[in-house]
Every structure is written in C-alpha cells, then in structure tokens.
Symmetry: C2
Subunit: 300 residues, 2 copies
C-alpha cells in the first residue's frame, strides 16, 4: 500500500454504510472534506450545529438521504451529543469541527458517558504518504499522549498493529525511535523499548516485527543500517514509527509536510470508534484523507 488512492478503494467498498457525526462543521477545510466525501458517495453525515449555515443547508438539500442535522442550543452540548450518538450506535465515526480539542476529548473520556472502553488508552495515529518513501508510513503520537509510559506503549503498538492489518500489512514492521541504537537509562523510553521488543518476540501482538531503539534513518533506509553495521529485522522498511514523545513525533509530522510534500491523514484510536481530530493547520484535503483512512480501517 503506497498511497491514499489505495485507501480510497478500500473505503469505497464500505460505501454509505458508515455514518460520520461532525461536531460544528463550520470551518472551510472541514466543509471541503465533507463535500468531497458526499460527492464520492463514501459515507453519510450527521451534522451537530448551533448556528444556521448556508453550507450545511446546501448539503441537506443536495444529499437528503445521506445527511442529517441535529441542532443544539449551546456549544457545550455539541461534544456530549456527538459522543452519545456513537454510544447509541447511531453514528460510526466522530469528527472534530470548530471545537477545541480539549472539550471534545473531555466528552470522549468521560467515565460514565464517554466512549473509551475500560482499560483502553486514547492515542493517535498519523498515516503519511511521503513521495520519497516507497509505501505508506504510520507514526504515533502527535496529538494525544505527550510522554507515553510503558503501559501506554503496549497499547499503542496494539492499535498500530490492528490498523496495519486492516490495510493488509500482515506482519507490520514497527520501529521504536530514538537518536541512536543504545539502551540508556538516561532515556527511560529505551528501557521500555527493550521490554517491548521482548514482548513482541513472545507474540504479544501476534505477527509483528518490532525493533529499537533506532533513529528514523535506520528505520526507513536499508543502506543506513548497513553503513552503521546495524542488523535489524526492520531492514530499513518500517511500516510504523513509534516516537518516544510528542515533541519528536510533531517534529516529524511538521517536517515531512513542510519540506517533503507529504500527504497526511490522522485519527485518534482506542475509543469505541475512530475519531478524526484534525488540527488548525490541516488542509481540507488532509481532513478528507483522514475520513478515507477512518473508513478504510474501521471494523465492519
């Protein structure tokens, strides 16, 4: 799988069966993504709105069978309403519009009325199409967990493995990122990596190839490992990069999108449904690719 077009093919197979609830679809990029999805006949939408909107009215007119509007009286009601629809199985995917991430996350994580199964950790996966890499590259976490603990890494690997399998990657290669290959107590994540590697060998997550610590270049370039005499089962062919923290993950995200013309899509994982948590800087196209990614990887 090397580009979003292929994800689209998978998503198309699920045509209109899935319902996306959007909390306050007011910004231009969000409306663009909704329009593309409706035009391509990929899913139906439930719009949670407060103020009247010409754009939404248009969608309701043009696609009466695939759109629906639910009005709320205050902005505070928006996120809980969307989460409730997911709980009641009236919607399959949750999408953020013009609402602060923190407020949406609060509703998702609410212990009584939220949608995070007990024992799960919410995390975030980005899928990148980098012109200079020969396949799609997943990485985490740019949005939800600032400094993953060992327990959180365990769950993150589980989510990544599951997502890869949905995309037909039978034995995903997961590289645990650091600045070199040394296990060093001054960098506690390298100690976690050591244990996670052992757990992978014991098939904790099924068929996966997990290795690290290693740097981004060793993870994604076969020649780089050779030069440094590093022998790794990743072989410079990583499907997933697991970053040690949000600072390095965000640096990777911003660098590939700014300097390498990468296309990215993303979603929060771990809740009972995929959550499209796009951020202010994301383009309409990126939000559309995120919808496609969610549709392509959602359970049937």
């Amino acid at each position: 799988m090397h580009d979003f077009t292929q994800l689209m093919e998978i998503a198309k197979d699920k045509k209109l069966e899935k319902r996306i609830v959007v909390v306050f679809p007011e910004d231009e990029s969000c409306l663009y993504a909704i329009n593309q999805t409706l035009k391509e006949n990929l899913a139906s939408f439930i719009f949670i709105t407060k103020k009247d909107s010409e754009e939404i009215d248009k969608f309701l007119q043009i696609y009466p069978n695939h759109t629906e509007q639910i009005k709320v009286f205050t902005y505070e009601e928006g996120a809980p309403k969307a989460v409730q629809l997911i709980r009641e199985k009236k919607a399959d995917i949750l999408m953020k519009g013009m609402i602060c991430s923190d407020i949406l996350l609060k509703a998702i994580l609410n212990k009584e009325k939220g949608i995070l199964p007990t024992g799960n950790t919410l995390s975030h996966i980005t899928i990148a199409e980098i012109p200079t890499y020969h396949k799609l590259l997943m990485f985490m976490d740019v949005a939800v967990i600032p400094f993953p603990t060992f327990e959180q890494f365990i769950q993150m690997i589980g989510y990544a493995t599951k997502l890869c399998q949905k995309l037909g990657i039978i034995e995903p290669r997961i590289a645990m990122i650091h600045c070199n290959e040394k296990i060093n107590a001054k960098f506690p994540h390298t100690l976690a990596y050591q244990k996670l590697k052992k757990m992978a060998q014991e098939k904790t997550w099924g068929e996966t190839i997990i290795d690290g610590p290693m740097d981004v270049k060793t993870a994604c370039n076969p020649l780089s490992g050779e030069t440094k005499h590093i022998v790794s089962p990743i072989e410079g062919e990583a499907d997933v990069l697991l970053f040690p923290d949000i600072l390095s993950a965000n640096t990777f995200f911003k660098t590939i999108t700014l300097f390498c013309q990468a296309k990215v899509a993303g979603m929060a994982v771990g809740a009972s449904c995929p959550i499209i948590l796009s951020s202010r800087g994301d383009s309409g196209e990126s939000k559309y690719d995120s919808i496609i990614s969610a549709l392509a990887t959602i359970d049937n």
Copy 2:
C-alpha cells in the same frame, strides 16, 4: 545565503591560512573530505596517525607543504595530542576521524588539558541546505547536549547568533521549537523559552529575533502562522531552530537528510576552536561541507 557553494566562497578567502588536525583519518569518508579540501587548496592538515597508511602517505607526497603527520604509539594518545596542538595554537580546527566521540570529547572537556574555556558549554550546530527551503537553516543540538537546561539554552543562542553573524546574517531569526505555541509547565522547556524571549528583547545577544514556543512549520513557513492566526516576528523565516532536546533535533536531522535530500554540515561549538564531530552515517561530502562550514565561520 542559500547553499554551501556560498560558504565555500567565504572559506576560499581564508585559503591555506587554517590548519586542521585530524585524529586518526582512516575511514573512507574522512579521507574523501581531506582530499577534496587539499585539492581545492582550502586548508592544510596535520594527521594524527598510529598505523601506516598508503592514503596518508600519498597526501604527504602530493601536498608536502600543506600536510604533516604526527605518529602516536597508542590510540589513547591520539585525542590528547590533537587537543594539545589546538592549545599550543599549532592547529586551528579539530576533526574527528576513526575515534569514538566519547573519547574525543573527554580530551576536549578535560579541565586541565582541554580546550573548553571556563564557563562555556560545548554544544553542536548543524547547517542544512534543504532544497525546499529558500535559505540555509541552522539547528541544534543533535550531538552533544541531550536535554538543554535554561543556562545551556542561553549559551546555545549565543553560539548560534555568532555563527549567523559570521555568515552575514545581521539579525538572525531563532525559533524555539515545541509542538505548539502554548507555554505549559508540563513541558519545562516552554518556561525556559518564555524567559529567553524576554532576554532577547533586552538585547542579551545583540541584534536577534527570538520567538517560541512554536512548531517547525510555523517557524519555516509564513503561511502556516497565518492560518493559525499566530503573529510572530519570525514570520516563518527562521534562520535557526532551537530544539527542546536531542530526540526532536535528531528526528529533524534524519528526516531532512533521508526524505528531503538535504545536505548537512555540522560542528561542535563552544570550545576554543571549531570541532568537526561527524558521525558514522555521514557521507564524505557531508564531512567536506563540515570542513567548509568550519573554515567559513572561524575567527580570523
């Protein structure tokens, strides 16, 4: 200044006046860089060697006036010998060959016989030529300081400012990198950034424009800030990226070199001379560019 060719012009003006001492020039990429430098008549060399080498003999034969060899009996003597030559002003630039960075750093940092002026912190600056950025971009620290403290950030900014001025950047724009623009006690470097920004306004480092926290995209793309309604004097035109730690700096380094065809050069700064601390993965060309960068930015 937008590419290494321009650095080369500056370096050429200092032709042969500077002497580079290389500790164990044995690896192919190091020999390549030396050969290029001698061919271009840019500097002279002192080789610290232990075993006989055909390549070194050739250099001594072809360039008798610009090369010199000092033999040591054990590998342990190599780094202290080179450092001694710098102390005695018999050499101007120190370059790492086939020697472990830790051993070289130990000799450099030695309190009695080293070359780190009292009160200085050793740090590292990378200079990158990224095809998709319109000028050279400096960033730090990928090699020496894992998690800079507030005091270390102060010194790093000083080194970066000085280096920029050597390259003719009169008012360098220094972006302090984070994953967003929020000051947050959970990320102590953002508190340091706040203080550093105030110090910059008080002209602590002379004419500099310093802002942050901000992400890589906001630092290097004028449109990104606009979209997010961020008003910053950096204006998406950073000359220098100051990363919060070695993990994010290394991620940036590896990503631009692997996926964006960036050319990079680097040197350790803060000691009484520039130090070329190239690492295993660096190409001969990158080592050559590092020599050029050191020559272009060294004091006359």
